[in-house]
């Protein structure tokens, strides 16, 4: 289907009654696209025209039936309007035809305006809940143009120079070779000469603390989508709704709500967790979360086997994906086969080792944790982690690892290794010693606990632990290109709220870390652009600069595939139908800094 045909189909769909169009328009359009190759356009156009008449006919018929009931006073006064020999059906057909002719004329007058408007409305109103979780906050009824830009195709790694991208109400309506003419006023035109356009980035593992700090920074850093991996559930569901109804400006968000852990699991802070005692409670909680609006379920270390498998099965049954940690008592393979969609933090250093089952059987983690808490000797925790880790390392088998990676790839289980967080665990001292201007976005009360001497994980560390975390980091880091080569799909995630992670910009760091590990710049960029979109099944509406897709883009000063430091040099962001230029982005950053100060003052 070429652009003109696509557009005329969209126009005809747009002319349908709003209730029908919002409910079925997107599906119909997809079907027409699929059928187009089999049937040719004449038959489909006829079908669409008939549908138009039929739907307007039914609307008008329903209206006529409802009218007497709705206006008894008019009837009582004898003011019957439709006493002519016209039947309601004839009248409806006449009206539908006039509406059609009028609209057709109107559309000829406004060729660019409607397809976008239509699709945009679809993406906000007709899409299944959760799939396009957050719609644009305020409808901006105008066109924008990015002129003479180089488009970065994040699927193939190719560059398309000198393109003009026309955006209408948040949707790409055309991508054409650059011509030096434009009908738009200067404020709607963005000069893309020498600049590079990429799809918006995602942070696929985050915890939102302050929406007034985190959200503006995400947008200002070109991170236009997030996956919230747990928080205080009332707060999460509240801001999720605000994002959806447009009262809050921020990235597109997919949320788990709380974190599901066992009765004695390590979820921290405790307010993020829901304690699941058994399978029955697990199933019930999955149902409850779905009703509350969760897009997926986050599972955690302390869940019992029974609870975990019940949660996974219930999630599968009601189509609520399960993602997160693999519980201590479950093997990585079991989690993969239970349908867990993503595993966080480097497969938690277990599955590659022949010692995996032994580690599970000994339940070392629980023992030393419990003992440390009982005795108040917190050094037992890092010591225990090191002991457990060495056991894993002794049993490390590349063959077993490769087989596991292949299984992950075959099952479409994504890995979200949160490298920036792993780096902090191994090299926190180096990070603490380095000044970082981004610390102005962290309130002083929190910053104190970033110091190695203050943080629970580092305060009680032992030499054995310090040595172990570096070995672990190096071992797992080396596996990344191998995992990539065997077909594993990575997601860029930061685990925001962990020390030395920053809203938005840490995603750039995460992408660069993938390259340090041995991935190509394209593969690394895909972890934050293409892969998240595929993870959520949103390829039809996001993830590339193509007509019909939502315009969620970032304009960079330089080519990211040549140098990923260019991710830090953002010239503009297009999101929610808005064009945010550099001064707008700087203003967003400033509001975040102000909000941090306000929070700090409140704490005092």
């Amino acid at each position: 289907m070429n652009n003109t045909q696509r557009r005329s189909f969209l126009l005809l769909l747009h002319l349908h009654p709003p209730s029908f169009r919002q409910r079925f328009g997107e599906e119909m359009f997809l079907d027409y696209q699929d059928l187009y190759h089999g049937q040719g356009s004449f038959r489909l156009t006829a079908d669409l025209l008939l549908s138009l008449l039929r739907q307007w006919g039914s609307v008008l018929q329903a209206g006529l039936r409802a009218a007497p009931a709705a206006s008894p006073s008019a009837l009582a006064g004898g003011a019957m309007v439709f006493q002519a020999p016209l039947t309601p059906y004839e009248l409806a057909r006449g009206l539908a035809l006039s509406v059609f002719l009028f609209s057709a004329f109107w559309c000829l007058e406004n060729p660019a305006g409607h397809p976008g408007d239509f699709l945009r409305m679809l993406s906000s109103a007709a899409a299944p809940k959760g799939v396009l979780a957050s719609a644009a906050p305020t409808p901006v009824h105008n066109n924008q143009e990015i002129r003479d830009v180089t488009i970065v195709d994040v699927e193939h790694g190719t560059l398309l120079p000198h393109r003009t991208v026309l955006i209408t109400n948040g949707l790409v309506t055309s991508v054409t070779p650059f011509q030096n003419t434009s009908h738009l006023s200067a404020e709607d035109v963005l000069d893309g000469r020498g600049k590079f356009l990429i799809p918006g980035m995602w942070d696929m593992h985050t915890h939102i603390n302050h929406t007034d700090v985190d959200f503006p920074l995400y947008i200002a850093n070109g991170v236009l989508g997030i996956r919230s991996m747990g928080g205080v559930q009332d707060q999460v569901f509240a801001w999720q709704k605000q994002l959806q109804d447009g009262s809050l400006f921020g990235p597109m968000a997919f949320v788990s709500g709380p974190i599901l852990d066992g009765p004695n699991g390590p979820v921290h802070p405790a307010s993020y967790g829901v304690r699941i005692a058994d399978a029955e409670q697990g199933r019930a909680e999955v149902d409850t979360l779905k009703a509350k609006g969760a897009d997926f379920v986050k599972v955690y270390d302390g869940l019992s086997r029974d609870s975990y498998f019940a949660i996974a099965a219930e999630g599968e049954r009601i189509h609520l994906p399960v993602a997160g940690h693999v519980p201590d008592d479950v093997t990585i393979l079991e989690a993969v086969h239970a349908g867990q969609r993503s595993i966080e933090h480097q497969i938690e250093h277990r599955g590659e080792s022949t010692a995996e089952q032994e580690l599970i059987d000994r339940r070392i983690t629980h023992d030393f944790m419990a003992e440390a808490i009982k005795t108040g000797n917190y050094s037992l925790i890092p010591d225990g982690i090191a002991r457990e880790g060495n056991l894993w390392l002794q049993g490390f088998s590349q063959r077993r690892a490769d087989a596991l990676y292949r299984t992950l790839a075959q099952n479409g289980t994504y890995l979200c290794p949160t490298l920036v967080t792993g780096y902090w665990v191994a090299y926190g001292d180096d990070l603490a010693a380095k000044p970082d201007a981004r610390q102005r976005f962290i309130d002083p009360g929190t910053l104190v606990y970033w110091q190695p001497s203050m943080n629970m994980l580092t305060k009680y560390r032992t030499p054995a632990y310090t040595e172990w975390v570096k070995i672990k980091w190096a071992t797992l880091f080396k596996q990344l290109p191998r995992q990539q080569a065997l077909g594993v799909q990575f997601l860029a995630g930061t685990d925001l709220t962990v020390p030395y992670t920053y809203p938005g910009s840490s995603v750039h760091d995460e992408i660069r870390m993938f390259v340090s590990a041995g991935l190509t710049p394209l593969q690394a960029l895909q972890t934050a652009t293409r892969n998240p979109v595929q993870f959520f099944g949103l390829q039809k509406s996001l993830g590339s600069v193509d007509p019909g897709k939502r315009a969620e883009f970032v304009l960079l000063d330089g080519n990211p595939l040549a140098d990923l430091n260019n991710l830090d040099h953002i010239q503009a962001v297009v999101t929610h139908g808005k064009l945010l230029r550099k001064p707008d982005l700087e203003a967003l950053t400033a509001t975040a800094a102000d909000a941090v100060k306000a929070h700090a003052a409140q704490q005092k």
């Binding site: 599906e27 079907d31 079908d47 008939l50 138009l52 039914s58 189509h319 390829q539």
Partner: protein
């Protein structure tokens, strides 16, 4: 009836229904999306069909439709009715043939 029949073996999205209807009628009966969604609108309103969320593993999930218990019952009743009609038609044809003979 065709749409309900298409949904008896599994939940399908719109395009799947179009293909299944064509398959079941061996290509004799092809409906377009306009007809399909008009039917689906009515079936949804009557509670004969309900929508389900897209399948988790589908790379590009679409809304799927599911035959409700009521839909099944209606389909069964309609099949019974049509069977009776067919029976009657066959009986009459036979009578007709006999009369001619």
């Amino acid at each position: 009836m065709h749409v309900l029949l298409a949904l008896t073996s599994s939940d399908l999205h719109g395009y799947g229904i179009l293909l299944e209807v064509a398959r079941q009628s061996q290509g004799a009966y092809k409906i377009g999306p306009g007809t399909l969604y008009d039917n689906l609108k009515k079936l949804l309103a009557q509670g004969l069909v309900e929508e389900t969320l897209p399948k988790r593993k589908d790379p590009a999930p679409r809304r799927e439709y599911h035959l409700t218990t009521l839909g099944s019952a209606v389909l069964r009743a309609e099949t019974e009715r049509l069977t009776a009609v067919l029976k009657e038609a066959r009986r009459r044809l036979r009578l007709n043939e006999r009369a001619r003979a």
